[in-house]
C-alpha cells in the first residue's frame, strides 16, 4: 500500500494570531509552526496500517524552505520519505493540482489529508485532488481500515455518522478519532535527518483565489456580571436585552 499524506505547516494551536500591519499576512514573529493536527492524525493512521500490512508512507507539502522542519518532524514520526513542492501555498486549487500531478505519476494508492488546516480552515485540498485524479473521496473520516483492496471508513455527516466502503485508489480527510498522534522517539529523530526529502518545482500557474487582507475579530465589550445568588437575572437579560431566547 502506497500512502501519500499531505502536510500543512501551521501555527501552533496556542498561537495568539496577529497580522502584519498591511494585513496581507500572518505575523510570524515568535510563532512556532507544527504539522497541522488533523494531518498528523492522517499520518499516524497511515503509519499504523503500514506497520500492520506493509507499504510505504510519503509525506508531501507545498511550501518554501521554511516548512522543511515540519516535514522532518513527519519523517521523525515515521514517514519514509518527503516531497516539498517549492511554492507558497496561496490557493487550494493550485496546491491540489500540484499534489495530484505527483500522486498520479507516482501511482499512490491512498491519499490522505487532515479534514482542514487550522490556518485557513477550508477543507478543500482533499476533494480537489480526488476530482483531479478521478478517484473516490471520503471527507471528514473518523475511522479507516484496509482489507485487501477495499477500505472501510466511518465519516461524519450532519447529525450522525456513516460507514462507507471504497476501493483503492481513493482519497480521504481525517477527523479526530482516526488515530492518536505519536511523539517521535530519539531513533526516529536521528533517522529523519538522513531520510530523503525531495524538492520539486511547481508546474501549475492557475490560482483562482487570493487572500487580500486579514483582520482579527472585533474586540468584545466588557462582560456584564450577574450575581450568582440571582442567576434568573441572566435568563431575563438573554430574553429582553440580548434577545437570543
Amino acid at each position: 500500500m502506497k500512502f501519500l499524506v499531505c502536510i500543512s505547516n501551521v501555527p501552533d494551536t496556542t498561537t495568539k494570531i496577529t497580522f502584519t500591519p498591511d494585513g496581507k499576512a500572518l505575523n510570524t514573529a515568535g510563532v512556532q509552526f507544527i504539522i497541522n493536527p488533523y494531518d498528523e492524525m492522517a499520518l499516524t493512521r497511515a503509519l499504523e496500517i503500514k506497520e500492520a500490512q506493509g507499504g510505504t508512507v510519503t509525506v508531501i507539502n507545498v511550501g518554501t524552505t521554511t516548512t522543511e522542519p515540519t516535514l522532518r518532524k513527519a519523517l521523525a514520526i515515521g514517514a519514509d520519505d518527503a516531497i516539498r513542492i517549492n511554492a507558497e501555498p496561496v490557493d487550494a486549487l493550485f496546491v491540489a493540482s500540484e499534489i495530484a500531478a505527483i500522486a498520479k505519476a507516482e501511482k499512490y494508492d491512498i491519499i490522505l489529508t487532515g479534514r482542514e488546516s487550522i490556518d485557513y480552515n477550508s477543507g478543500q485540498v482533499m476533494g480537489m485532488i480526488a476530482e483531479l485524479m478521478g478517484i473516490p473521496s471520503v471527507a471528514v473520516a473518523t475511522k479507516l481500515d484496509i482489507a485487501g483492496t477495499t477500505a472501510n471508513l466511518e465519516r461524519e455527516i450532519d447529525g450522525g455518522k456513516e460507514t462507507v466502503s471504497v476501493s483503492i485508489p481513493f482519497a480521504a480527510s481525517a477527523q479526530k478519532d482516526m488515530a492518536e498522534p505519536r511523539i517521535p522517539n530519539m531513533r526516529g529523530i536521528m533517522s529523519a535527518r538522513t531520510k530523503p526529502l525531495k524538492v520539486v518545482e511547481p508546474t501549475v500557474v492557475d490560482k483562482p483565489t487570493v487572500s487580500l487582507s486579514h483582520q482579527n475579530p472585533p474586540a468584545k465589550t466588557a462582560c456584564k456580571m450577574i450575581d450568582a445568588e440571582h442567576p434568573e437575572e441572566l435568563i431575563n437579560l438573554l430574553h429582553t436585552e440580548a434577545k437570543v431566547i
Binding site: Q124, G127, V164, L234
Partner: protein
C-alpha cells in the same frame, strides 16, 4: 447567467442551512444580475421543493435519480456540475455543511472555479469579487478575491440570515447522465444521533467542561439544554477523558460553531477552546474562578458554583417559557 444554489435535504426535507444558502443566493443575484436556480438531489416531494420559492429561488432543477439516495461525492459533484451548465450559472452557493464540504471542493476542481470556504459575507460587488471568510479557527477573518470565471461559495452555517423573498418557483425534472462509475463509494451503514439537536446547526448551545467534576453530573447540563431547546457541547479535556462523546467537542481541534447563544459552564476558556466558539453571537460564561479567561470574551458572566447556578437557570428558563 444565474446563481445556482445547492439545496441540501435530510430525509426529503430542507433544513435551516439550505434556506440560509437560498437567501444568500437571492441576495447575491441582486448584486450580480440573473435569477436563482436551486438544484435538489434525490427523492423530494413537490410541496417541499416549492418552499424554496419562498426564499427567492425562481427555478428548481430536481434530479430524482434513485441512486442518489446513497451519498457519493463523485456522483453528487457531476449532478451539480450538470445543473450548473444547464442553468448557465457563474456562481454556485453551498452551505458548507459536511455534505457541502464533500462536494464543493470536487466541483471547484471540476469547473476550475475558485471556492471560498466558510464564507461569512456577500461580495460588495460582482467585480472585483471579494468575500470575507473565517480563518485561523475563528481567530481571524480574511478577504478572498476570486478571479475565475465560475465562482463557488461555501457559506459558513448560521452566519447568514434567512429572509423570505416570495417567488413562484418553476420545478423542472432534470435527468443528467451520471455514469455508474461515479457511484464510487458505498454507504454500508448510517448512524443517526437521533432526537438530538445537531450541534453544527444549533442556534443555542449549552457547553460544559472539567468544572463539572465527572460525567455523572451532566444531568443538569442536559436539563438546561432541554429547557432551552439547545444542543449540548463540551471542552476537549472532557471529550479526551470520555466523559462525553467526541462529536460534542468544540474548539480548535473539534467542531467550530457560531450559534446565537453559547453558554460555557465550568470551562476555563483556553485559547484553543475559544477558537471554536468565538464567532458565537452571545457568549455566557459560568465559572467558580473569577480569573477564568472565558470572562474576557463573554458578554454575560456569573462567578459561582455551577452545581448551584445551573438548576436555578433551568427553573428560570422553564418559568420564562411557560409565561409565553
Amino acid at each position: 447567467m444565474s446563481v445556482l444554489v445547492f439545496a441540501e435535504t435530510w430525509d426529503g426535507k430542507f433544513k435551516k442551512p439550505s434556506f440560509e444558502a437560498a437567501t444568500y443566493a437571492f441576495e447575491l443575484a441582486q448584486k450580480t444580475g440573473g435569477a436563482v436556480t436551486a438544484v435538489v438531489l434525490g427523492n423530494v416531494a413537490d410541496d417541499e421543493l416549492k418552499k424554496l420559492g419562498e426564499y427567492g429561488c425562481a427555478h428548481i432543477l430536481h434530479i430524482n435519480n434513485d441512486k442518489l439516495s446513497s451519498f457519493s461525492a463523485s456522483a453528487y459533484t457531476i449532478a451539480v456540475a450538470e445543473a450548473a451548465t444547464k442553468a448557465t450559472a457563474k456562481y454556485i452557493v453551498f452551505s458548507y455543511t459536511y455534505t457541502g464540504k464533500s462536494i464543493a471542493p470536487r466541483l471547484a476542481a471540476r469547473l476550475k472555479g475558485g471556492l471560498v470556504a466558510n464564507a461569512t459575507t456577500l461580495p460588495a460587488s460582482a467585480e472585483p469579487f471579494v468575500i470575507k471568510k473565517k480563518c485561523f479557527s475563528g481567530k481571524g477573518f480574511t478577504d478572498v478575491q476570486v478571479s475565475s470565471d465560475i465562482k463557488i461559495i461555501g457559506l459558513s452555517p448560521n452566519s447568514h440570515h434567512i429572509a423570505t423573498n416570495a417567488t413562484t418557483a418553476t420545478i423542472d425534472v432534470f435527468a443528467p447522465a451520471i455514469p455508474d462509475t461515479a457511484f464510487d463509494t458505498k454507504v454500508t451503514e448510517v448512524k443517526k444521533t437521533s432526537g438530538k439537536i445537531v450541534l453544527t446547526e444549533a442556534e443555542l448551545v449549552v457547553s460544559a467542561g472539567r468544572g463539572m467534576k465527572g460525567p455523572e453530573n451532566w444531568g443538569m447540563i442536559e436539563a438546561l439544554a432541554d429547557a432551552l431547546g439547545a444542543a449540548t457541547a463540551c471542552s476537549k479535556p472532557v471529550a479526551d477523558m470520555d466523559w462525553r462523546p467526541h462529536h460534542e467537542h468544540v474548539g480548535q481541534t473539534g467542531i467550530t460553531i457560531s450559534p446565537n447563544l453559547y453558554i460555557a459552564i465550568g470551562i476555563s476558556g483556553a485559547i484553543q477552546h475559544l477558537a471554536g466558539i468565538s464567532s458565537s453571537k452571545v457568549i455566557v460564561a459560568i465559572n467558580s474562578d473569577k480569573e477564568a479567561p472565558f470572562f474576557k470574551i463573554a458578554d454575560y458572566g456569573i462567578v459561582g458554583d455551577a452545581f448551584q447556578v445551573v438548576p436555578k437557570l433551568t427553573e428560570a428558563v422553564k418559568k420564562l417559557k411557560s409565561s409565553h
